[in-house]
Symmetry: C2
Subunit: 392 residues, 2 copies
């Protein structure tokens, strides 16, 4: 079964400006710049225009050079007589991008932006309004809440944290119980990603208001979890051993079932993740089919970074060998990808899909038009997946 | 009645280093620097040593000048052959301080620190471990949770947000109801302050574990709230009219009573705030004695910035005129102040206390040793006040 993806059809692509501008960088930008929605309150810069260019501006009177470092390119800013440096980027993809400023070689956050955890640091991010931004916008609908839950993990011998979305109805009826989606971030990101730049709460609030998705709890934890190192391991500089699967199964899920009003069975439990989180998610799913009935991988599959043909007899210990049995267990298997994602993602996801097809394993697949390995692909992935789960 | 303040006694003051160092800046710092607890995960700088000096470090190969801007002073960093700038501050007060880096005149956040909202921006902060830090430390005790609550305010015609602390027991018994403390930030801060740099959750977790405070809900909202401006007001550049009191009484409290399991009467409701929040809190209290039974002002009173003798016949419309009646209504009135706070705070709080004394109005007063108009004073204020409320 393939699901139709009305989700992504609404993201009509206006790529003319983009293609044109990239071959003509010297053209003056259209002067309709507005402060980015990701700015700190009251800050005028950075700004975005209708061509999706970013204009950065910074006071640095004694600097020799200021650059905007965005989307893998560095754009030189120029100084005016007041010591204010200003400059524009080429048109960017729709969606959310991490960026930074370079002041005489120092890489620093832009003092005008809000800060987001990604690329291994808390730093600047900018939102380029997407054509289909309505689905993740703050609207006059009932809103759920996000709760920070700090807990001590015995498996890692450390304090950990997750964020838990509870749907709008959660506070109304103190007896009602809800299904749970466990939702994971990607590499060099953390448990704040889905709640901050992922806008998972607003996506669900809007889907629930439109009666497209059922009310559910979403648990967003940190995908990095390691066994405490012994003295000898530390001496030998040994690689840390990931125990995220154990933490998920033995700590996060029981804790969630204890602290929140969940329906604690496999039919009411889903797991999804992006990139590294997709890889983790798929392994956890296949190793724990008694725990989850729904799974999604946004921009990732568990054969990453491989792109070779997969042998279901051996891949993931033969977990996909019996396609009919997998179809009986997994109620929804969702995969999605941005059309501009770099290698190895298309090849990797492609090889995984080919294996599913050969095994006659049912899955949904959707492409996010004109987005790369970035958050708009993943927001659209969640928007497509969430309506399919916990429906029966 | 004056309460004894064992709270602050534990904060033994080690000021010898401080006084000595301030008259001898050129002395080499003690080389026991450690990464600050307010750093981003894995970041080595900034660091703090046993003298409470801050060492900042930044790669800026082409810069002409890099400075650490902390505690009202700018400290020059010096460059090594690899283009890394490093330097130290004078010894700082214990507690939490906002700071920034200056790179060739550009004021930017330190890429090594976490970011906190204060001084009108989201920027760097650093924690100088306090002698009595145990009371706000993350310990192996049951932890409450902090929930982000987004809501639409009709009075301001805008989306607003509050953070709500629910105590450790809140998730265990779905029927139990709790008293509520409304807790406000200061000027140029926002609703994140008490939950982030204020550590209100950890302070309460620890007090509750020690059976010093009862389990309570804490609501931390934004103290800035203005009437929507009409076209004419905008044209005339008129001053915005604060409606925070109306928002508190008509929107925040009813919403909290709806969404959380509160005990919705005055005997189970307290209000407290710091600086601007103390000023607001005291006015709201005196105008709404039917709504609250407990009140605290940390580093602030409602005569701010005045230091003149207060006439209870006219001050706040004569609300303190009948001292006996005030004593009947207010079960705890708490005031506190750091011993190093600048004018007009000591004079202002002093004039207010003198008025209370003349009116024979009972109150608790505590001083936070060796702290200024900063977060350690306010954490200690909360730690002193919370055990006194909702006890009967």
């Amino acid at each position: 079964m393939k699901y139709s993806c009305s989700v992504f059809i609404s993201a009509a692509v206006i790529c003319c400006n983009l293609c044109f501008a990239q071959s003509g960088q010297s053209m003056a930008p259209v002067e309709d710049f507005k402060p980015a929605t990701t700015n700190q309150p009251g800050r005028l810069f950075p700004q975005v225009n209708s061509e999706r260019r970013v204009r950065a501006s910074l006071a640095a009177p004694q600097a020799n050079s200021v650059q905007l470092d965005l989307g893998g390119k560095k754009y030189a800013l120029t100084k005016n007589e007041k010591g204010i440096w200003t400059g524009e980027s080429l048109p960017q993809d729709e969606g959310f991008h991490y960026y930074q400023l370079l002041i005489d070689g120092a890489a620093v956050p832009d003092p005008g932006s809000l800060y987001f955890y990604g690329a291994g640091r808390l730093g600047s991010g900018i939102e380029i309004p997407a054509t289909d931004r309505d689905f993740y916008s703050l609207k006059a609908v009932p809103h759920g809440m996000i709760t920070e839950n700090i807990y001590f993990s015995k498996l890692t011998n450390s304090w950990r944290r997750c964020f838990v979305y509870t749907p709008p109805g959660y506070t109304n009826d103190q007896k009602r119980r809800y299904p749970v989606l466990y939702l994971q971030h990607g590499s060099f990101e953390d448990e704040t990603g889905w709640a901050m730049q992922g806008k998972a709460n607003l996506i669900l609030d809007n889907l629930i208001a439109d009666k497209k998705a059922v009310e559910m709890i979403i648990v967003m934890d940190n995908g990095y979890a390691y066994k405490p190192q012994t003295g000898m391991q530390q001496d030998n500089n040994a690689r840390s051993v990931s125990v995220f699967e154990e933490v998920m199964i033995n700590e996060i899920i029981p804790m969630t079932d204890l602290k929140f009003r969940t329906i604690a069975d496999r039919e009411h439990r889903a797991i999804a993740g992006l990139s590294m989180g997709a890889n983790q998610t798929m392994r956890i799913m296949m190793n724990n089919l008694d725990k989850f009935a729904y799974v999604a991988g946004f921009s990732g599959t568990s054969n990453y970074p491989g792109t070779d043909t997969l042998n279901p007899e051996t891949f993931l210990d033969g977990k996909f060998k019996d396609g009919a049995s997998v179809n009986k267990k997994i109620k929804v298997l969702w995969l999605s990808l941005g059309t501009k994602e770099p290698a190895p993602f298309p090849g990797s996801v492609g090889a995984f899909r080919a294996m599913l097809d050969r095994q006659k394993i049912k899955y949904a697949y959707a492409e996010s038009p004109e987005t790369g390995h970035e958050w708009l692909s993943w927001r659209r992935g969640l928007y497509g997946f969430a309506p399919l789960i916990f429906k029966n």
